[in-house]
C-alpha cells in the first residue's frame, strides 16, 4: 500500500559564510585561515579546532590547480534529475587545497585546471 509521504523542507543557515556564497556569484573561491596557526580550511570553517580559536580570516584561493580524480554522473539523484550528465572532480589548487568542483572540458587525471564558478558552485575547466 502507499504510505504517507514524508516531505522534509529544510532551511539551512548561511551565517558566517556570506563571503563564500557572495564570492561564488563573482567567480571567486574563498577559504578561511586561522590567524594564529595558519591552518587553511576548505570548506571554510568559522572555528579552528587546532588552536581553539574563532579568529579566522578569509583567504582567496588560487584559480589554478591540477585534476586529481573525477567521475561522470549518469544516474542522478533527486534534485539533479533534469540535469545533463555532469562531471564531478577533485582539484588540488596551487595553495595545496583539495576541493570538489564540476569539470568542464575533457577530464584527465593530472591535467591542469583553471577554476572559476557558475554562480552556484566551483567549476574547473581543463586545458
Amino acid at each position: 500500500m502507499q504510505a504517507i509521504p514524508l516531505e522534509l523542507r529544510y532551511v539551512i543557515p548561511e551565517r558566517g559564510y556570506e563571503k563564500f556564497w557572495e564570492g561564488l556569484k563573482k567567480g571567486e573561491i574563498w577559504a578561511t585561515k586561522c590567524k594564529r596557526c595558519g591552518s587553511l580550511y576548505y570548506p571554510p570553517q568559522r572555528d579552528c579546532p587546532v588552536c581553539m580559536t574563532s579568529e579566522l580570516e578569509w583567504y582567496r584561493l588560487s584559480d589554478r590547480g591540477e585534476l586529481m580524480t573525477y567521475t561522470v554522473v549518469k544516474a542522478k539523484p533527486q534534485g539533479y534529475e533534469d540535469r545533463e550528465d555532469y562531471t564531478i572532480g577533485i582539484v588540488r589548487t596551487e595553495d595545496g587545497v583539495d576541493l570538489m568542483c564540476w569539470i568542464k572540458g575533457v577530464p584527465r587525471v593530472g591535467s591542469k585546471v583553471r577554476l572559476g564558478t557558475d554562480g552556484d558552485r566551483v567549476v574547473g575547466e581543463t586545458a
Binding site: V73, D98, L99, M100
Partner: protein
C-alpha cells in the same frame, strides 16, 4: 578487552527486495535464527543493541517496533548508526558491553528496509553520505560517484582497469549463486559487467551492490557465560579496530585507499597479535568492485596498488591464500546497510565452525576477519576472530 567475548549465536534473513515483510518481520527472521542457533530464549538476553540507518524506510525509529515484535522489551535502550558500518557499530557496542562487565549476553541486530523509497530518493539519501552543503548541495554527488572518484584515481595511479574491477563482480555473483539467502543469484561474466549501464563512470551497474532489504543478528557472551552454557564451538573476538575520516571526500588528500580502513586494520592486528598472513578467511566491504580491490590493500593482503593481482590470480577464491566473501559479498549477496556488518560476523562464524556447506573453506589455524566500511571511508571496523 577487559573480558574475553565470544559469539554463540548467529542468524541472517533472506536478503533482497522484501516486499513481503515490514522491518519487524524482517528483523525477527534473523533474531529467531540467532536465538535458535544459540539455544537461548529472549529471557537469556541482557541487552539488545539495534543497528539501522533507517533513512529509507517508513519506520524512522525502528528499534521499538522490532523490539516489541520480537519480545525483547525492556532490553533495547538504543539504536546505533554508522552508515554502511552500522552492523559493526552494533557489534562494537555489544562486545564492549560484555567486555566491560555491564552485560553477560548481548544480542546485536542490524536491519534496514531500503526498498521502501524509489531509486532517485535512495540516491539522494546516499549522496548526502558525505557533507550535505559542501558536496551534495552544490555538486549532486551520489554514493556511486564517491567510490568512482576512488576508482578513477586508482586506475590512473596504479593502472587498475575496468576489467580488473569486473573480476570482483564475477566472483561475487558466482558465490552468491550458491547462497540461498543472497539478493542476486545470477552469474555474470566480465563482458556482462563491462556492458552494463553506466552509473557514475567508471562504475557501472554490475560494479555496484544492489539496494537490499535484510537483517542479521549475532549473540555475544562473556567467556564465563560460554563455559557455563557449555557452548561447543564459540568463535572468539580477538580484537576490533576502528577508524574514521573526513566527511568531505576532497579533504582526504588521497583517493586510492581508505585511511579509516587502514587504521582499523592496524589496530585490529595489534589487538589480536595477528598479521595479514595469518588471516585465512575474510569478508571485505565490496559495496563497489573498486572497494574490494582497495580492501585487499588496506588489510595488507596485497601491496598498495596490487589489489587486483589477487583477483587475477584467484587467490581470494575458496581454497585460495585468503578466501574472501564466499557468500557473495555486498555486491551480490546484497547490502542492507544496518545488517551488513553483522552478516559478515554471521559468515565468518559459520566458516570457523565449519558449517558453511558448499562454500566451506579449509582452515589450518582458524583465523578470520571482517572489514566493514561506513560511508565512503567515514567509518571503518576491522574485527579479527578465531575459533
Amino acid at each position: 578487552m577487559k573480558r574475553r567475548v565470544g559469539i554463540i549465536g548467529v542468524g541472517v534473513s533472506k536478503f533482497g527486495r522484501r516486499d513481503d515483510v515490514t522491518v519487524r518481520e524482517l528483523a525477527w527472521e534473523s533474531i529467531r535464527e540467532a536465538l535458535e542457533d544459540a539455544g537461548l530464549t529472549q529471557k537469556d538476553i541482557d541487552l539488545v543493541v539495534a543497528g539501522s540507518t533507517a533513512y529509507r524506510g517508513v519506520e524512522l525509529y525502528p528499534a521499538p517496533p522490532v523490539s516489541e515484535y520480537s519480545s525483547l522489551l525492556g532490553k533495547t535502550p538504543l539504536r546505533v548508526e554508522a552508515a554502511c558500518a552500522t552492523g559493526s557499530a552494533a557489534a562494537f557496542t555489544a562486545v564492549n558491553s560484555v567486555a566491560s562487565g555491564s552485560a553477560e549476553v548481548v544480542l546485536a541486530v542490524g536491519f534496514d528496509k531500503m526498498t521502501e523509497v524509489d531509486t532517485p530518493t535512495s540516491l539522494a539519501i546516499g549522496g548526502r553520505g558525505g557533507n550535505y552543503q559542501w558536496e551534495f548541495h552544490m555538486y549532486g554527488t551520489t554514493f556511486p560517484s564517491y567510490y568512482a572518484l576512488y576508482a578513477t584515481r586508482h586506475m590512473a595511479v596504479y593502472g587498475t582497469t575496468e576489467e580488473d574491477m569486473a573480476l570482483a563482480s564475477v566472483k561475487a555473483h558466482k558465490y552468491a549463486s550458491m547462497n540461498e539467502k543472497a539478493h542476486l543469484r545470477n552469474r555474470v561474466t566480465v563482458e556482462d559487467v563491462l556492458k552494463s549501464r553506466l552509473i557514475s563512470w567508471p562504475i557501472k551497474l554490475l560494479d555496484s551492490s544492489p539496494i537490499s532489504d535484510g537483517s542479521a543478528a549475532v549473540i555475544f557472551a562473556s567467556e564465563e557465560k560460554i563455559r557455563e552454557l557449555k557452548v561447543d564451538t564459540p568463535v572468539w573476538i580477538e580484537g576490533i579496530g576502528f577508524g574514521s575520516d573526513t566527511s568531505s571526500i576532497a579533504r582526504r588528500g588521497e583517493w586510492t585507499s581508505l585511511r579509516a580502513a587502514r587504521e582499523a586494520a592496524a589496530s585490529a592486528y595489534s589487538l589480536s597479535g595477528r598479521t595479514p598472513s595469518d588471516v585465512e578467511y575474510a569478508t571485505v566491504h565490496d559495496c563497489f568492485t573498486i572497494a574490494e580491490i582497495m580492501a585487499y590493500e588496506d588489510l595488507g593482503f596485497a601491496e598498495r596498488g596490487k589489489g587486483a593481482t589477487l583477483l587475477r590470480e584467484g587467490q581470494t577464491e575458496r581454497g585460495g591464500r585468503v578466501a574472501v566473501n564466499l557468500l557473495g559479498g555486498l555486491k551480490a549477496k546484497g547490502h542492507p546497510l544496518g545488517a551488513t556488518g553483522l552478516a559478515m560476523l554471521y559468515e565468518v562464524t559459520k566458516q570457523l565452525r565449519e558449517e558453511a556447506g558448499p562454500v566451506q573453506h579449509q582452515f589450518k589455524n582458524y583465523v578470520a576477519l571482517t572489514h566493514n566500511v561506513g560511508g565512503t571511508g567515514h567509518y571503518a571496523y576491522v574485527t579479527v576472530l578465531s575459533r
